[in-house]
């Protein structure tokens, strides 16, 4: 039998605190699309970074066309025709498209005009609409991904590794990407498609490798498997269903109200344009959209982090315009930011210290002008119990905790701070399914207490599972507000891409005006 194009044998990789890969073996054939399926933290990215020379395995070997090869750096990988697109792209935002593509692929004096022409031709060949002279920081994420793909094509890659490529795309863009992947494979190239989404796997892959806890738990042909089998292999157990949702009583008061809120963004990011909606007590208001379309700006506007260009925000009938961040926290607004490590936690401080992050001015933590440490520790301990946070104790440093436990910590704190309104931005990003389930239950429990909840997510499944009503945000504009039952994946996908579908859903303007 012919040896496969590429083979990984018994690869093991240890990080300082976790076993990332344990005896991983599989192969990739020429012209084959292999999906690497698994939850967050299953070790999919690590094994591919080893293949690309970014990490070095502690043991095991890599064979190409049956010959053992040592890949010590990305340079070696590139020489063997391997290219990898990282999940969080590795582009230089301040540089142009062309400069990014030729980085490491040019030498001596650079004839920029000639390279720009080359990039333009390559883009046209694959049907990408890209200006080679544009600065990457000015491009939407979807286009940035195309720059990454062009970079791989420019290097004449034979094997293309893509790490969670659809995370930043609308459903329609994702379909186009998968079409590209199929076309690329048809030409005899190979693709590794890393994902945690079962639907994509079934749509794009020839063969599926399922990973869990750093190990391979299945190597199946798409034709001979189904989503149910894959899901069981990936999770390793059954998940209990979410509790039944409650109907919002008609008497529920309106609590948060945005009227014509606009934000200007000086830094080339997304602003907000005339955003209006209202949330009632005990309601979960979901916001769908591709990331970078104004979600974070919306949260920050409500929290008082960004000034409004026009419009007004009120909570329980009180105008927030003149209130600072601390005052708004005092009114009972809790906020779980999308990037918890950057915006929500102080990684170097202890769990207990992180619990008082937003209430350090509060007299209840003080005794004789000094911090009442036993009391703070006790408070933290009670939350560790209540949220079953896995930590040695309240003095444990937060960066030692896993991502899921960090998120539980933020949720625990914000649920207490947010006595009236809770804002969740990407509440489950990067978590494993157990933690996702936990966070979802916490959100539903707070809703049941009558709090208003604003839930933002790029995961449509999450939006559908939690929300009572759903709005779609595109380039800072609300594309429409719908009851959950009025929407399908296809419709929401079109809205996320900025297509108006008023004709199909006539009631949306009325709804948003209400």
């Amino acid at each position: 039998m012919d040896s496969p194009y590429l083979e990984l044998r018994d690869v093991t990789k240890l990080f300082a605190k976790v076993v990332a890969n344990r005896h991983v073996s599989f192969s990739i054939q020429s012209g084959e699309v292999v999906a690497l399926l698994g939850e967050n933290g299953a070790g999919k990215s690590t094994i591919m970074k080893i293949l690309y020379g970014l990490y070095h395995a502690d043991s095991g070997e890599i064979l190409i066309n049956g010959v053992a090869r040592k890949i010590a750096s990305p340079k070696d990988a590139m020489a063997l025709g391997i290219a990898m697109i990282q999940q969080h792209f590795s582009l230089v935002p301040a540089h142009s498209v062309t400069e990014n593509i030729i980085l490491g692929n040019a030498s001596g004096r650079i004839n920029l005009a000639a390279y720009q022409k080359q990039v333009r031709e390559l883009a046209t060949e694959y049907g990408f609409d890209i200006d080679p002279a544009a600065l990457v920081r000015d491009l939407p994420v979807g286009v940035q991904q195309k720059v990454e793909i062009l970079k791989a094509l420019f290097q004449k890659a034979r094997l293309l590794i893509m790490d969670e490529p659809t995370a930043v795309l609308t459903p329609q863009e994702a379909v186009k990407l998968m079409a590209f992947v199929r076309r690329f494979a048809t030409a005899g190239h190979s693709v590794v498609f890393i994902t945690h989404k079962l639907k994509e796997v079934m749509a794009v892959a020839d063969r599926i490798i399922v990973m869990r806890n750093g190990e391979v738990h299945g190597d199946l042909l798409r034709a001979s498997t189904d989503e149910k089998e894959l899901s069981t292999l990936m999770i390793g157990r059954e998940l209990p269903p979410l509790p039944k949702e409650l109907a919002i009583p008609a008497s529920a008061k309106e609590m948060l109200r945005l009227d014509g809120v606009s934000i200007r963004d000086a830094h080339g990011g997304c602003g907000l344009e005339e955003v209006s909606f209202a949330i009632r007590e005990g309601e979960i208001f979901g916001i769908a959209g591709v990331s970078g379309n104004g979600q974070q700006e919306l949260c920050e506007a409500i929290c008082g982090f960004r000034p409004l260009a026009s419009g007004s925000i009120s909570l329980d009938g009180r105008d927030l315009a003149r209130l600072g961040i601390r005052d708004r926290i005092g009114l009972g607004i809790g906020y779980v930011p999308a990037d918890r490590q950057k915006d929500g936690l102080v990684m170097e401080l202890s769990l207990a210290e992180n619990m008082i992050l937003k209430s350090s001015y509060d007299a209840k933590w003080k005794q004789w002008r000094l911090l009442d440490r036993p009391r703070i520790a006790q408070y933290a301990n009670s939350k560790i119990q209540a949220y079953s946070i896995k930590a040695p104790g309240p003095d444990a440093v937060v960066k030692e905790l896993s991502g899921g436990n960090q998120q539980k910590l933020v949720v625990a704190r914000e649920v207490d701070n947010g006595t009236r309104l809770l804002i969740f931005d990407q509440p489950t990003r990067g978590l494993d399914l157990g933690a996702i389930d936990y966070v979802h239950k916490a959100i539903l429990a707070e809703r049941a207490k009558g709090k208003g909840v604003l839930c933002i997510s790029t995961e449509l499944s999450e939006i559908f599972a939690l929300s009572d009503r759903i709005a779609v945000l595109y380039k800072g504009v609300i594309q429409g507000i719908f009851k959950k039952t009025e929407l399908t994946t296809e419709k929401i996908g079109l809205l996320m891409a900025g297509y108006a579908i008023d004709a199909e859903i006539p009631n949306m303007t009325k709804e948003s005006a209400k």
């Binding site: 300082a16 950057k342 929500g344 936690l345 102080v346 990684m347 992050l357 350090s360 000094l370």
Partner: protein, 354 residues
């Protein structure tokens, strides 16, 4: 955790020893016997109570400039300007001391000198914090440059208003003895300034780790974005920490003018600021650790001086020693991290083998 703590003490100890050994080896090129020289250093610093007390005299301003770097460092701010704040403090202390003369009794007089110096140095420092807060200016550069400006200000006054009566040297007249910081031990130079410095180190520790302001200083230091989203105003933190840092460095000015020299001399103690940074690094920016690190540097200074007088070894060997100790301490950070990582990985490997 225990293993990490053990590593901390061991690696710091070895760093200090290596720094001393490295500088000793340089003595060979001067044709001196390093072993004899360092034996002399070790014996000379404990030869009598005057010399032993002098270690603490030298340590006093170092504790304060060490704190002046460490406190803003906890807020991720770089105060490279402790030297200038020290000069401003010394200048203010001298001006007030000379103006007071014999007008006030000792204790209130000294208190007034201290308060004046700390406020002057504090305001000098707070300016840096203020431009950081208001214009987001680079505090590292500005504090660095402010030292040279402070030096020019001091020189100006020593040439004009504060110049000694005979107008010969760029220095002031001697202060009234009642404004001298009282001596703690008869027959030595050790003055009450040392106790003040230790108290302020303890105060800084309590501030950082036991008060909500200190908590917010550390939050801003580790993650300014999260701090802002939590309603903590970084600008106030910038101004208040730089005020405190300036005041601490200025207090070192008082301990030197009113505690040791009893006058102000042009360009004295030109390396206190830089040594303060070294001490803060050696102590991992821990205020309590700074006390001990400053005493170590004080011993090196006293010993180096004695060594210089007795065997003709240049005084620059002290700076070399300090420099090497600092570099080895920085290397020890790396070694410690390396050891901790390797230890964690070993544990994993074992669990994997089972």
């Amino acid at each position: 955790m225990n293993a990490n703590l053990r590593d901390l003490f061991l690696s710091t100890f070895f760093a200090v020893v290596l720094g001393i050994v490295a500088s000793a080896s340089l003595l060979l090129f001067l044709g001196k016997n390093p072993i004899a020289a360092y034996t002399l250093l070790a014996t000379s610093i404990i030869r009598d109570s005057y010399t032993i007390a002098d270690i603490f005299v030298k340590a006093t301003p170092l504790i304060l400039t060490g704190l002046a770097f460490a406190l803003p460092f906890k807020a991720s701010l770089f105060n490279i300007g402790a030297q200038g704040q020290f000069y401003i403090g010394a200048l203010a202390a001298s001006a007030v001391s000379l103006a007071l003369g014999e007008r006030l009794p000792g204790l209130p007089g000294i208190l007034l000198v201290i308060v004046a110096a700390m406020v002057a140095g504090g305001l000098w420092g707070a300016f840096i914090g203020w431009v950081k807060a208001k214009f987001n200016s680079n505090e590292f550069l500005i504090s660095m440059m402010s030292t040279y400006v402070a030096l020019a200000v001091m020189n100006y006054f020593l040439r004009t208003a504060l110049m000694e009566a005979k107008h010969e040297y760029p220095q002031t007249d001697t202060f009234a003895p009642r404004l001298w910081l009282p001596t703690i031990f008869e027959g030595t130079r050790l003055h009450a300034g040392f106790i003040l410095a230790v108290l302020f180190a303890l105060f800084t520790w309590v501030l950082l780790y036991r008060t909500d302001l200190g908590y917010r200083i550390r939050v801003v230091g580790h993650n300014p974005t999260a701090a802002r989203l939590s309603g903590i105003e970084a600008s106030r933190i910038y101004i208040s920490t730089f005020f405190l840092a300036g005041a601490l460095a200025a207090l070192a000015g008082v301990t030197e003018t009113n505690g040791v020299q009893h006058m102000l001399v042009q360009g004295f103690n030109p390396t206190l600021g830089a040594e303060g940074i070294g001490i803060a690094i050696l102590a991992n920016a821990n205020p309590i650790g700074i006390i001990f690190a400053a005493i170590l540097f004080g011993a090196l200074k006293v010993g180096g001086n004695v060594m210089g007088q007795m065997s003709g070894i240049p005084a620059s060997i002290i700076e070399i020693m300090e420099g090497f100790v600092m570099i080895f301490v920085i290397l020890s950070y790396f070694v410690r991290n390396f050891l901790a990582t390797r230890r964690a990985k070993r544990v994993l490997q074992k669990s994997l083998a089972v």
